[in-house]
Symmetry: C2
Subunit: 468 residues, 2 copies
């Protein structure tokens, strides 16, 4: 161990090495504090060459490497195990924006760049980098790509995977794959970058990326819509897409129980309507054209839906402030449910056309098996992604209720599988769902994944115990 640490120290210098246990601990603990790992050291290289040097030393000594960005992941993918034999390779010091090319609509960034800083860098040249999620003030782009992050802009701009043109990756051998191409079209063999995106650091270390930029929207319209049921939300989604096309940049569903939690725990949150309704959709349009066109379009779509009795009420924000207030109703749900006490969370996706049936069938099954549970159902329904969270029945203490986690996960995820869905829409597998995925993926698919893992990382040093 001492020899290893000395060799690492030679590569990254004192500024790049943390070994004191109390300083290592925060890096060895995940965001939700569910996984408490140990590590020989936290290594913080400042360049691709240093990353390559570190990986080479670890390959030589068969030391397991846990790559880490902002350490905001929700599945423990960036947390070492408890053996104390692994190292954490934290990329935070690699935080340079190497190039912004507005005319090519690209920027080349290092893995440790904080997502919100990339938003600003793009805006400075009149462009949008659309990846957006709750942790954007501290998550890092290398982690976003390694987990194929989703977030609130997927409906219009896709997942993290869709926002990448090229990658630079340090392979498990310590070699550097230079794939930083800024091309929209390149059909010269296998698209290697796809392997590393979403692999949660199990196939190599992403050190830099060429990201796609987009025109900056110049107008926006935000509305809250009241509906009878998720089925009605799907009908509205279909109409809104047909009318607005790519202007539709947000379509988020939440139930009245979600709204109740937000209103209960956030004193300054305001109910969007004088009365309450069973479900709500937060709908956002945006456009590269300035002016009121996009608001008129939102009003037309909603008036038509009211006329067809497809929706029950609608409010289009009259100001930026009101638009932000509407968004808060959706964004505060995660925190509001935490204030209410922990619940059993699911990050699932379903074919969009089957979401309403999934919710109804799963709600009924849960009610039968666990009488009185309260459902915190919300999510990016425009992407088919639900955060289908199960709260304790009234009067049951949350910490007692969470003992049902395994049974409720099983019930919900079996239902997801029946509806052709995925048990991890945007958060990944990490440690959290590594065992569970075995139930839902075919043996053949798992074996294909293992074949790729063995081909690229024959000694298994890259983030062992995650994903596979």
């Amino acid at each position: 161990m001492r020899a290893l640490v000395e060799r690492l120290s030679e590569i990254v210098g004192p500024a790049g090495l943390i070994t004191a246990p109390q300083e290592v601990a925060p890096y060895a603990t995940d965001w939700r504090k569910r996984y408490l790992g140990k590590a020989v050291a936290v290594v913080k290289p400042a360049s691709t060459a240093e990353v390559a040097g570190v990986v080479l030393v670890c390959a030589d000594s068969r030391t397991a490497i846990v790559p880490q960005g902002g350490n905001t992941g929700l599945c423990g993918a960036a947390t070492p195990d408890a053996s104390g034999t692994q190292i954490i390779l934290n990329l935070s010091r690699m935080n340079r924006i190497r190039e912004v090319d507005a005319r090519n609509n690209t920027m080349i960034v290092e893995a440790g760049c904080v997502l919100a800083n990339l938003h600003r860098a793009a805006e400075e040249v009149g462009r949008l980098f659309p990846l957006s999620l709750a942790a954007e003030g501290s998550c890092e782009i290398g982690g976003n790509l390694s987990t194929n992050a989703g977030g609130t802009a997927v409906l219009r701009y896709g997942n993290a995977r869709d926002l990448v043109l090229g990658l630079e990756v340090v392979l498990p051998s310590g070699e550097v794959w230079e794939g930083l191409r800024g091309l929209r079209k390149d059909n010269t063999g296998y698209d290697l970058k796809q392997l590393f995106i979403g692999a949660e650091g199990t196939l190599g270390v992403i050190t830099a990326a060429v990201l796609k930029l987009f025109p900056l929207p110049k107008s926006r319209a935000t509305a809250v819509v009241a509906l009878q049921s998720p089925e009605k939300a799907l009908a509205l989604l279909e109409r809104a897409l047909e009318a607005c096309g790519e202007r539709l940049t947000g379509f988020e569903l939440f139930s009245d129980f979600c709204l109740a939690l937000v209103l209960k725990h956030f004193g300054d949150a305001a109910a969007p309507f004088p009365r309450r309704f069973p479900h709500y959709v937060l709908m956002e349009l945006s456009d590269t054209q300035s002016g009121g066109g996009v608001r008129a379009l939102a009003e037309n779509v909603l008036e038509a839906a009211l006329g067809e009795k497809n929706i029950l009420d609608a409010a289009v924000a009259q100001s930026e402030t009101q638009a932000r207030d509407f968004w808060k109703l959706r964004e505060f749900i995660s925190e509001a449910q935490a204030h209410e006490g922990s619940n059993i969370k699911h990050d699932v996706s379903i074919p969009i056309s089957r979401i309403a049936d999934f919710i109804s069938a799963t709600d009924q099954e849960l009610a039968r098996a666990h009488a009185g549970v309260r459902l915190v159902t919300f999510g990016h329904v425009g992407d088919g992604n639900l955060h289908y969270n199960v709260s304790a029945p009234e009067g049951v203490a949350p910490d007692v209720f969470v003992k049902n986690t395994a049974a409720i996960n099983r019930l919900v995820h079996d239902s997801v599988a029946r509806f052709g869905g995925s048990i991890s829409a945007e958060h990944g597998l990490g440690q959290l769902k590594r065992a569970e995925i075995q139930r839902y993926k075919s043996a053949l698919e798992l074996e294909l994944m293992r074949k790729l893992k063995r081909a690229l990382d024959p000694h298994g040093i890259m983030n062992p115990g995650k994903v596979l």
Copy 2:
């Protein structure tokens, strides 16, 4: 051989097997008639189970398989070698549309579906399947996906890769990977479908796919713009994207020499302007909103560009007929240059911001090394994709001139590499560029590709002699 043919016949029946040499020949010859192969047989399975059976028999006997769709590829990827030991696995009989789900914006289609039929199936439910290319009347979706086809809608909708949510693939072992998921978000491990897209049949046989559908555009505006230089075209592209965002669905550049060829060889083609200019852009906007908004937007953008003297003239189509006539000027270029005699073709991509510099530098180098050559420069400049074709000098017979092919390819592709580009933007490698790519890809990247090939196809039966 006889035993092999008998076993194949048991699987696919007489309707699925062609062995008579004169009937095999058309399948064993590529679209451009550059590669004349031989084959034991053409096998035409009618179901995934039959494909699996055929691959298993071939795996058993170590028989090489050449997967084939509509046989319209331009790089010989679907043509067997001359040994007469390979079989052609033609997917054309697998042409069912298994499901259209308008609300999920997906359809599940078999590999042998002709692309144009998919356009119609989508339109029947008010949706767009945007992949569009010259061969769409005969190319098949399995081939489109295996080559990651590009075409005229990439600027707005991406390459074939971007239009797929799931795949069904027969692996080189004869096992069937069931990956037909219709989900926008699924972070449960490696994204296996990415491996097979663009692999040109070297890793497995795509038998079916879940494709993404989009809202149908309801209005369109088409314009021809006259410009001084490619540099000015890039400036216009930037402004048009900023103003129009995703409404910009076409941005094609062509030189005056291209226009001259079209006017010479197509008597009914009409010059767009009373006088001639050095370069032209065909620009198309489309919108899910009906009415004249998109035309007014095109006019605004072009008026502003005229005011800034960024463009020299512009004509916005006044009717559907005129719009089609404008598109013909671009679409007829390929055929017009063929009428003029063969030339030396390049399908390259360059970072968009560097296209003008690439054209100017490469034009100059060519003029020095091959005095008098005439350049047929056109392409999907909005994607950074140029068809940079080199015609014989005036008075030099094309068939004499094409003896310079190797030297001119070297010069053009070396220039592409210097500008950070790709020597195959949308056509693939196949047989045509298999040797040449060795010069432009790093040894490490080639070795990574070989590792994947060995992991998935250890006996090397899938389309040997292609890509790698």
